[in-house]
Symmetry: C2
Subunit: 140 residues, 2 copies
Amino acid sequence: MRPPAPAAILETALYAADLEAAAGFYGGLVGLAEIGRAPGRHIFYRVGSGILLIFNPAATEIPSGGLPVPTHGARGRGHVCFAATRDEIALWRAVFAAAGVAIDAEFDWPGGARSLYVRDPAGNSVEFAESRLWDDTPPP
Amino acid sequence: MRPPAPAAILETALYAADLEAAAGFYGGLVGLAEIGRAPGRHIFYRVGSGILLIFNPAATEIPSGGLPVPTHGARGRGHVCFAATRDEIALWRAVFAAAGVAIDAEFDWPGGARSLYVRDPAGNSVEFAESRLWDDTPPP
């Protein structure tokens, strides 16, 4: 018997060597609720029904010694996209401008959905997009 | 005026140089619905109200030439976790065993939630976990 395909992503991971800087961005500027922190290793945030995990790859590439959690760790620029309405995207633009965070891009996709992109302090590409961006994708 | 903190993660990204192998895993074995594909660059899947993006970093590190989508691209082992019930996790264990995919780990967290970990063909750490894993986290 096959299980049904997963119906939700529970955890999304990004990587940042400087977790304090990441906390200033995700907790401070974006306003996510922090739900866990291991200094030097990770900071976790709740985002609705999902969890955003920010890991220091130098720490997660090493077995933790406690529970047998598999190692992982990526370098380079990852990507995450948060859902936002068009009005909220305009407010985010102002929030980032006031904080001196450069807007990487802002445009409407061919289907009409708007996206705004900034970088977190680690260089990850952070997008705020209207959920309808994916509404019109044809069934496979 | 500040926007509310994001209430949902719309897109979660992983990276894989071999997208065909990734498709065999996420589309074939895990059974996710494919909603977009650009050969050599990406494959996209719907997971409930969210989207899983699998990118070839060698392609996304280069500007696309069309819309001004910011570049990104990570190397190394990323992480994603899909929600699953305890019964579904037992079924996933059998699915992966039948497919010759090694189980990286399977255990109960201190709060009682179960997690199962495998690797996708690119080495990303793919977890199936009971959603209650995060239910007991104290408010920040």
